[in-house]
Amino acid sequence: MKIIKPRVGMFLKTLSLTMLCSASISAMADYPERPIKMIVAYGAGGGTDIAARTLAPYIEKYMGENVSIVIENKPGAGGEIGFTQLANSSPDGYTIGFVNTPNLITIPIQRKARYSLADFTPIGNVVDDPGAFSVSINSPIKSLGDLVSYANKNPGKLTYGTTGIGGDDHLAALAFEKQTNIKMKHIPFKGSADVRTAALGEHIDLANMNMSEAIADGQEGNLLILGQMGESRWSEAPNVPTFMEQGYDVVSGSMRGLAAPAGLPSDIQKRLEKALEQAVSDPEFVAKAKEQNLPLSYMNSNDFGATLQRLHDTYNAIWTAEPWIKG
């Protein structure tokens, strides 16, 4: 079900596949016999990179003795460069990578990409960072209900900042607008830091950021988090009600999980899946994740794959109804 792929890549992939198949019978027994490359589609020092680098030693630990994971950053184009490279690598278990939603899914929807969801074998999900709406502590808006009635009185006046067009924050806001029949004004920024600066300086009315990005200001009392978009409350923010609890059917977040190229032999996949599961539940890793405000949410390969497919259908439906990028 590979939709679009450059012919050269295809050729190389087949070539390496045939070469591998001949060697795989012997290789499988003592996998892994050389370092495993982990592609991170974002820059060194960024959120995904640090999460990956924190996690990698624990996967090494549970993969067996003398297993080493080398992280390779392939940033650019919102993750597309790294995802494409992962999709086109040989499925021998020596190349795995972090995949981030919604980018992994929205990129092929909104532009002609060189990979599709079918090019990956999901290994497991690690982080699910719920979306959230936050306002400055001085704002008259104190709840989602206030927000809706304010927006109803001032249609198109209320400004909300997000980390970019087509990001999970933006798509969640579109879903919220649709459900409540309100109209807000979208102000895109370059990253969550810019959104926070603008919200703290009261240059925008509403900040749409993920919980991990808003939590520190929420605890400090600089921002009021109106609601979180997880299915249930995140353990680190038990006082923030979910959107569902407040009567709005909005569930959204940004997931980060591990994946390999499609066609990964199932015994290797099982091995990686098991190691990941053990790593994510290692108390030492859990403590580190807590320090870094990473909302952990482990999902096994099957569930992760199903969730990705469901997200794909949801975003595809939004895009067909009303594309978020206009010409």
Binding site: P75, A77, G78, T159, D194, T197, Q219
Partner: protein
């Protein structure tokens, strides 16, 4: 004062052998990274973070402080000696530093840059240490409209870099604006000038452009035997004792303040700080013509300001968790690795390490001076290398540095293409500085302009609201109108005195 007891306590954990050693290593590595074209502090720190996983927090942070300060200074060494800014922030140092080297004053220029860098870093570290919480509020005051005027103010410095034929300089600036637009438009998500290339979607990295335009042409020119004069004479004037250092004191004072303020404002990095300070120094000096031709004050202003930016950028980063630049973002990542969550709680819950980190910023600015004194003596020997040996080295360092940036061969090829473009531009006497300036400031100007118009429903008067905007508008008017008024005054006096002015 609570903070003073914290600072006092922190001193004891900073002045321990492991922290001192890591600071010395960090500073030395930083100077080297800064001096090598294509490598920057951001990249150096980013790739070192995984190595610091196992270190004690302050040992790791001391090394990072050293790299950060050292790299900012290190960028000035090749800028002065070879006209190649080692980091984007070194571009303003080229304007006066390289002419000084050509006049046989490379040693003096290096000393001025070292002294100015150390002073800038020290002032910046003191501001971070003593004034961080109150200064952090400044960071939140800047609205999109203010950002627009700030970048417009920076763009006015293009006017003085236009060279003999302003048409060519303006074409170079337009080219820079276009290069800055390549990639996904943040405001609409649409792709511009990307020609369906995956590699162009996230835009053209400034380091790729800078290395191409500034490192490759000198390397090629060095190889051309007829152009031996591109290299400053190896025989440098040894005597610089008659240089009056005291005249640099007001320059340092002003440039430090500019650097600190620029550092606090998010998204305004050391490169912009250096340009603003150089521009202001030139504006305020009655003898404008000497700038760009080897004025020691020009080197001092640029280097002092870009180093005064370093610790100041950490003010919003540490107190509010807002990284004002790519380096600050990476440093926040490093803090996170060691379980230090940026924000006000950092100063309460991890006061000792936080203040310790700030002190390492101060200590490394002193270490930088000591290491720099030894180092610059070694660096000056580069000038004695034969040109045909130096050229291949510059090219291979640039190629490797750019590859290491994002592991991308596309960017390496792009850098080489910019290199050829830079050579063509130089041969046609088209200045390249306006291009780089426009790439640095153009996207910020466009985005903030469109963001403020979007927020105000298309009302342009939002641009003329608030004190900060008017201060910046005033500065723009002063910078661009002073030469005109001065010319008119001279002409007026001239005609009154009956003297002829040609």
């Amino acid at each position: 004062m609570e903070s003073f007891t914290h600072i006092y306590d922190a001193f004891f954990i900073v002045f321990t052998i492991p922290v001192m050693i890591s600071m010395i290593i960090g500073t030395a590595v930083g100077i080297a990274i800064g001096a090598l074209p294509g490598l920057s502090a951001t990249m150096g720190i980013a790739v070192l973070i995984p190595l610091t996983f196992t270190m004690e927090p302050l040992v790791a942070l001391g090394m990072i402080a050293g790299i950060y300060n050292g790299a900012m200074y290190g960028g000035s060494i090749p800028a002065i000696l070879l006209r190649i800014p080692g980091t984007p922030a070194g571009i303003a140092t080229v304007f006066d530093g390289y002419p000084m080297a050509q006049q046989g004053k490379a040693k003096l220029a290096l000393r001025i840059s070292l002294t100015s860098s150390s002073i800038g870093s020290a002032v910046s570290a003191l501001a971070l240490l003593l004034l961080a919480p109150p200064l952090a509020k400044v960071a939140l005051q800047f609205s999109p409209a203010n950002y627009f005027w700030l970048s417009a103010f920076g763009l006015t410095s293009i006017a003085v870099l236009l060279s003999k034929n302003p048409i060519k300089g303006l074409i170079a600036a337009c080219l820079g604006l276009l290069i800055g637009m390549v990639g996904i438009d943040t405001m609409t998500g649409a792709e511009r000038f990307s020609f369906d290339s995956l590699d162009l979607l996230s835009g053209i990295n400034i380091i790729v452009l800078l290395t191409g335009l500034y490192a490759i042409p000198p390397a090629i020119e060095l190889a051309f035997s007829s152009m031996k004069n591109i290299k400053p004479i190896a025989q440098q004037n040894e005597k610089d004792d008659d240089f009056r250092w005291s005249k640099l004191i007001p320059v340092w004072f002003k440039s430090s303040i500019i650097g600190v303020i620029a550092g606090i404002i998010p998204a305004v990095g050391g490169n912009i700080a250096a340009l603003l300070a150089w521009n202001e120094q030139r504006r305020s000096d009655p003898d404008k013509d000497k700038y760009g031709k080897g004025a020691p004050e020009g080197v001092a202003a640029a280097e002092c300001a870009n180093n005064a930016d370093t610790a100041a950028t950490l003010i919003p980063a540490l107190t509010l968790g807002i990284p004002g630049s790519a380096v600050a973002a990476v440093i926040l990542g490093a803090l996170l690795v060691h379980g230090l969550l940026p924000g006000p709680q950092l100063f309460r819950e991890n006061a000792e390490i936080t203040y310790g980190f700030m002190i390492t910023m101060l200590v490394t600015s002193g270490l930088m001076y000591i290491l720099g004194r030894f180092g610059s003596r070694a660096f000056i020997h580069i000038l004695k290398l034969p040109a045909s040996l130096l050229a291949p080295m510059i090219i291979s360092l640039s190629v490797l540095g750019i590859y290491a940036l994002h592991n991308s061969f596309f960017e390496v090829w792009l850098m080489l293409c910019f290199g050829v473009l830079g050579l063509v531009m130089e041969r046609l006497e088209i200045p390249t500085a306006p291009t780089v300036l426009a790439v640095i400031l153009g996207p910020m100007a466009e985005e903030s302009l469109r963001r403020s118009i979007l927020m105000s429903d298309g009302q342009y008067d939002v641009l003329f609201e608030g004190g900060i905007s008017w201060i910046l508008i005033g500065l723009i008017a002063m910078t661009s109108l002073t030469p005109v008024i001065k010319k008119m005054l001279v002409r007026f006096r001239g005609s009154r005195d009956g003297a002829t002015i040609k």
